[in-house]
């Protein structure tokens, strides 16, 4: 009896998971569609979108491929500066600027990835960290282009003209949905990648690299492609952040920003589709609310983070999923 019921439960769980999984982009989009009304203010909701996407990009590499990078700020920052420079310095429109940001982040990811994927574990983390610091320094020194220490100001995209409509981005709700459009497209791409044979292979590499190699897969190529896609997604997040803030702070490239991706993914649940968003929302919300009533907000944020690492190692969303499909 017992084995049968267990098998049945597992079957049901699989069905449930499948139904949810098949519609995960739609569900995520619907949730994010009403999300701004659950947050204290719109600018924070937009931050969650952007950092959620950033963590999703990071999670593709860490959660699904199993490679822990400490240098993802390089892609976030390059995407932000790539987009920002095209708008602020060259006066080109947003529809050229956003792809420019994504493309420049992908190029940097290709260069860093090419060097870094030869290593694994802690060495991989250290190499990505070191190379990301190099990227930081390049942007810091290129003052005439990036504004250096003062940051890049003037990434002003006030309105978007589309055939038939004009969107005023100075209105926070409009800006939110404009950014949400890109985030949903990116989520759809990630979902397609994960559902494809490619997605299965990278998870296979995470589980046992030697076996994947023995099956005939070119592990290095899979790693590099995933690294570049991950970098491009983070670049998109950076580019959207440049438009959201209308400035690009040099802080976009510091190692703390790399750490944010790690913290948000772990808090939400690595290797889950929607976990990074939950992590980003939880982290930013805790930080925002606690900072309003105490200057020791870091203490509270740190305690919450430790509780999750110690007692809920699957993260918030990972624990919810586990509970749902028990």
């Amino acid at each position: 009896m017992r084995p049968l019921s267990l098998a049945l439960t597992a079957q049901r769980a699989r069905d449930g998971t499948d139904a949810l999984t098949r519609r995960r982009v739609l569900i995520a989009a619907l949730f994010l569609g009403v999300f701004p009304w659950l947050m204290p203010y719109k600018a924070l909701a937009i931050n969650v979108l952007i950092y959620g996407l950033y963590a999703v990009g990071f999670n593709l590499l860490y959660g699904y491929l199993g490679m822990l990078s400490f240098g993802h700020a390089a892609f976030f920052g390059t995407g932000a500066y790539g987009c920002g420079i095209v708008v602020a310095r060259w006066g080109k429109p947003w529809f050229l600027a956003i792809p420019a940001g994504v493309f420049s982040a992908a190029v940097v990811a290709l260069a860093i990835g090419y060097l870094a994927i030869r290593t694994r574990g802690i060495y991989f983390a250290m190499v990505t960290l070191a190379l990301a610091q190099c990227v930081y320094y390049v942007f810091f020194q290129a003052e005439s282009l990036t504004g250096g220490e003062n940051g890049l100001r003037g990434v002003n995209v006030r309105s978007i003209s589309l055939p038939g409509v004009s969107l005023n981005l100075l209105r926070p709700t409009t800006k939110y949905y404009f950014i949400l459009f890109f985030v949903v497209v990116a989520l759809w791409i990630v979902s397609r990648i994960l559902a494809s044979p490619f997605g299965a292979v990278i998870e296979a590499i995470r589980e046992r690299e030697a076996r994947a190699r023995a099956c005939g897969y070119n592990v290095a190529a899979f790693k590099l492609i995933t690294f570049v896609v991950s970098g491009a997604l983070c670049g998109l997040a950076g580019a959207l952040n440049a438009i959201h803030l209308s400035t690009v702070p040099i802080e976009s490239l510091v190692y703390e920003t790399s750490g944010l991706a790690v913290i948000m993914s772990l808090l939400g649940g690595t290797g889950t589709f929607f976990g990074p968003f939950v992590g980003a929302a939880a982290f930013l919300l805790i930080q925002d609310l606690t900072a309003l009533w105490t200057e020791h907000w870091q203490l509270i944020a740190g305690a919450v983070y430790m509780i999750f690492v110690l007692f809920f190692p699957r993260g918030i969303w990972g624990s919810v999923l586990e509970w749902l499909y028990r």
């Binding site: 204290p40 203010y41 719109k42 600018a43 924070l44 931050n47 250096g148 220490e149 003062n150 940051g151 100001r153 003037g154 002003n156 006030r158 100075l170 926070p172 952040n241 803030l245 209308s246 400035t247 702070p249 040099i250 802080e251 976009s252 900072a291 309003l292 009533w293 105490t294 200057e295 907000w297 870091q298």
Partner: protein, 400 residues
């Protein structure tokens, strides 16, 4: 404890007051870095700004309409500052933003406020904010800028203490701007620059620089760094014995840094500041301001950056009162018409870049004859406000 409680209270938007008032209060957003390395200065700015709000309300507000301060922690991060500024503008519909305690933070806030036509009064040093590219008619700069500060310090020290100068500066925007300012004023006095030494930001060991500096036999060593870097480098220079043959000069001599480092390390160091509380000996408005501050905060005196929080908020409220409205175009006009003496003697905003034309105080750190623990500097000279001490409007790229 009382101080942090005060800040905590300031952080809560005073919802009850708003409910009681017949009209919506005038809201002033105040993003400052309560956490991080400039936390001490930021908290002092909040205290002083609260004082300006209280004064305004006690004297009747704007036709009975009261003001309130919405404090936000920008965490010394431009991205966070922008997010908070957007919150203040979009959710609270603030009538003005005052704040910012680093060049990059104030420039980011400024980019947001000028896009949304909200008046912003910046209260920390930057040269760039005066320049045409970042300026807008909604941008005001209550603080000094590096050019004014180094100019005043240079005009005081170069004729008195010699012309052989070595610069030691951190390798980032602040250090570069300060050195540029000293070089600019130095040309008038034909100073001889023996060396310009750059150190990494946040360096802890300066001992390797001092033998080289001593070998150059300078009259003056200009140490152009800030905060903890300033504390450490000056302390190590003192231990090394650099002061035996040369004077140490800093562009900005911070009250809080001097109090933290103690009298010995800073003994004899000369620098500039926007405000030192002993101005009360000669300036009545400083006395009034200090007394109010003492009364409100248990006898403490306001710091240099703290008092900027007071001036920054008070000028905006005063302009609103004169304009009789919070309509931004008319408030800007009223700001430009102000000739005010709120805490340090006469000031006004220059028309082309909205820089507050004001005095610069030259001070020297002392270790003897201190009347109280707060009595840490001697005022050597007060350079009176003059537009000629600012970079010209043409130089900044303004056409008007």
């Amino acid at each position: 404890m009382a101080a942090s409680a005060g800040v905590a209270v300031a952080l809560v938007p005073s919802g009850f007051a708003a409910l009681r008032a017949q009209q919506v209060p005038i809201r002033v957003g105040f993003p400052v870095p309560l956490t991080g390395p400039y936390g001490a200065e930021a908290k002092d700015q909040v205290r002083a700004a609260q004082l300006a709000i209280a004064e305004f309300n006690e004297s009747g507000g704007l036709k009975g309409r009261k003001a309130e301060l919405l404090v936000r922690d920008d965490k010394l991060n431009p991205g966070e500052a922008v997010t908070r500024t957007l919150e203040l503008i979009e959710s609270y519909k603030v009538d003005s933003i005052v704040g910012g305690l680093s060049a990059s933070v104030q420039l980011s806030i400024n980019n947001v406020t000028k896009e949304r036509k909200v008046l912003f009064n910046s209260i920390s040093q930057s040269d760039v904010i005066n320049e045409a590219q970042d300026f807008s008619i909604y941008t005001f700069h209550e603080a000094l800028n590096p050019h004014m500060t180094t100019g005043a310090v240079g005009r005081y020290v170069f004729p008195r203490f010699g012309k052989r100068v070595v610069f030691l500066a951190p390798d980032y925007a602040y250090g570069h701007e300060m050195v540029r300012g000293f070089l600019s004023v130095g040309r008038q006095f034909n100073i001889q620059v023996l060396a310009q030494i750059l150190h990494p930001l946040g360096a802890t060991d300066y001992s390797t620089f001092f033998p080289r500096i001593q070998a150059l036999k300078p009259d003056l060593v200009c140490i152009c760094n800030f905060g903890r870097d300033q504390q450490l480098s000056i302390k190590q220079a003192t231990d090394f014995g650099l002061k035996r043959n040369a004077r140490i000069v800093v562009p900005i001599l911070l009250y809080t840094a001097r109090v933290a480092a103690g009298p010995k390390a800073y003994e004899g160091v000369i620098g500039g500041t926007s405000y030192y509380w002993r101005l009360e000996d000669t300036i009545p408005s400083a006395k009034t301001f200090n007394d109010r501050f003492r009364k409100a905060y248990g006898g403490a005196v306001p710091s240099d950056y703290g008092s900027l929080g007071y001036a920054g908020v008070r000028t905006v409220l005063e302009a609103m009162r004169r304009a009789g409205t919070t309509d931004v175009a008319r408030v800007v006009e009223a700001m430009l018409g102000l000739k005010y003496d709120f805490y340090k003697g006469p000031e006004y905003y220059r028309a082309c870049d909205h820089q507050a034309v004001q005095s610069v105080v030259i001070i020297e750190s002392k270790s003897k004859d201190m009347e109280s623990p707060a009595d840490v500097f001697n005022i050597l000279h007060v350079e009176q406000p003059a537009q000629t001490h600012l970079r010209s409007c043409q130089e900044l790229g303004h056409t008007a």
